[in-house]
Symmetry: C2
Subunit: 410 residues, 2 copies
Amino acid sequence: MALVVQKYGGSSVADSAKLRQVAQRIGETSKKGYQVLVVVSAMGDTTDELIKMAYQVTEQPENREMDVLLSTGELISSTLLTMALSSLGYKAISLSGAQAGIQTDSNHNSARIISVGPKRIYDELQKGNIVIVAGFQGINSGMDTTTLGRGGSDTTAVALAASLGAEECQIYTDVEGIHAADPRVVPGAVKLEEIGYDEMLEMASSGARVMHSRAVELGELYEIPILVASSFSSTPGTIIRKERAMEVRNRIRGIAHDTNVARVTIQGVPDKPGNAAKILEPLAKAKVSVDTIILNASAEKIVDFTFTVSRNDLDKAKTIMTSMIDSLGAREVVTDSSLAKVSIIGTGMQNTPGYAALMFRTLYDENINIQLISTSEIKITCIINEQDAEHAVRALYKSFESEITKRIKT
Amino acid sequence: MALVVQKYGGSSVADSAKLRQVAQRIGETSKKGYQVLVVVSAMGDTTDELIKMAYQVTEQPENREMDVLLSTGELISSTLLTMALSSLGYKAISLSGAQAGIQTDSNHNSARIISVGPKRIYDELQKGNIVIVAGFQGINSGMDTTTLGRGGSDTTAVALAASLGAEECQIYTDVEGIHAADPRVVPGAVKLEEIGYDEMLEMASSGARVMHSRAVELGELYEIPILVASSFSSTPGTIIRKERAMEVRNRIRGIAHDTNVARVTIQGVPDKPGNAAKILEPLAKAKVSVDTIILNASAEKIVDFTFTVSRNDLDKAKTIMTSMIDSLGAREVVTDSSLAKVSIIGTGMQNTPGYAALMFRTLYDENINIQLISTSEIKITCIINEQDAEHAVRALYKSFESEITKRIKT
């Protein structure tokens, strides 16, 4: 019997009525003759409420305790979903992350999965059970509960799909799939039928919040097709999978944007070997995630070193950089907290210089000032002022619409 | 270093302010040079809320799923209490029931502890940690979460105290100890300095809700002294321990009452061997707990068989009995749901007939009708109408006050 892995996000199980609706849907898949393994997130804003409770008790909750606390959210939703399935007459059982065999490292709050030992899942499926796994959580070698950080339940689902050899991992959420641009910003932006793993990764890291990068990376590694679709409608959704053959793909897949961007520039850094490392190492140590990095070497051997971070990391990054001015021999640290990035994403774009030109021309025509540019093999990103972001996305969607919607034969 | 086990009930950790107060108290014990192991219940009415959530999803939640669901209440309170301790500068760590080595049978919702393997607790104490254990929960041989039923956290605390050889198990709650009668009914009822295990068991089974019988039984079995005291005051509390020598004990320890009593009478049962078993077996199978049982054999070989149950079991008991009328050859089933029991409790009472006489005389003088009487070695119980209960307790306390408060030399 073929196995399907389904994941339901927090908004899909936010109350008892939704839990029953989701149970109905799971049951229908089971009736079609599939073995069904479900991964579920915490209900609604349970996780945020648990975090709030912790901060009412202490300003600095320990990571280990926080993990046990947060893991209860998914234990609750998984048992309730199991009860809902049973009440509809299906055989079902809930398993914690530990029982599902999710072994992780000990990096509490953002643990990585080391291995999956799904013996118990396998046994329960063999007994004819629909298995409901509490997402987002695992267990370390010391038998302590860990959590996987943002996007954790997606990661649980893809990891289980990979280790059990599932045909597909289905991520059910409150959107109908991956759109070529945020439909709240660009009404009518097309929904993609499919997208490659790399393109999805660039979309995710560029601000498309539908799926977390870690789950997509894992899907790519094990070649698990990932379907993203709505929990409550039957529209087809978007499938994330290995790139199809050259001739049926289009170059531009979509426009992504992210308004949680801040910039740090260290001005007047002597251009000598080791300074880049000197700048980045203490940031990594402080767990500040650096996004775009720009360094323009110059004839004067004095450069400005610029990088972007998410806004909540700006203060930390600024403090660290300011403390290093002397040891770097730099002049000054300048920051800007109200930036955004817009990106156009598509495989093989770098070989087609016309796209970059069209992007810059579009922004110029709209009087949108570009502060920084960074490119990768499948993405061109411009950092602009925050207030220009939505305007930019709409203009870019219009410029690239024919590319996005047509299939290109090369 | 001597080890102290402390247990805090749900009302003692109902919000973040109380959690911090309790943490302060635990910290002070630690500062005095004790190793401290804490068992904690779910916050406030968390357990009731979780049960409500389950019944919103299904009318018949499975016991296995319910156990995982309910166990989250204590996981939450244990992590938050640990965070509160850390924020005060103490080294602390939370452990689930499974991590604390609480092995139980598979009787979900009311599991029994089979063994305790406290290696992890021992290790954490050795590292200088205050250990906070999630009460009420354990794990069965299949690695599934179980819960211990009513009074479960008290049982966890006494079991851990026994297996770790603690000097004392301290139960902190919202009352100041065990009183000779319910102080809400008898203002000024004395608080007992100490009470024997058996007497406490009779008090508990007769309606004194301070501690559950299972925990007291376990304390008796392993001779662990149990202190019952207030979480937030420093008054001394009551110690439950092995009976002191004869000469320092008093005969009457206290008056207990319980208004959750219903009566079932099967009238006209032929008095033949096996009928009592025939009546009780299906009740046991349906998990109806039968309290007092009265059968008066008569010359006519036709008897009335009467027993009492808690009110929530009355419908079930009535249905079962009614279905058996024919096979028993009985006449009719009669029930009464608005009864109460009042008991006087004290070691060695049966050898002193004056006490029973005084009890019946007191109730008679107050015009309180006695429906049923049952006696044990250390208890005399009268079943009366519910509306007479508080009146009866006050009158009995007055009659026995001098016995309760004086120490008798025999």
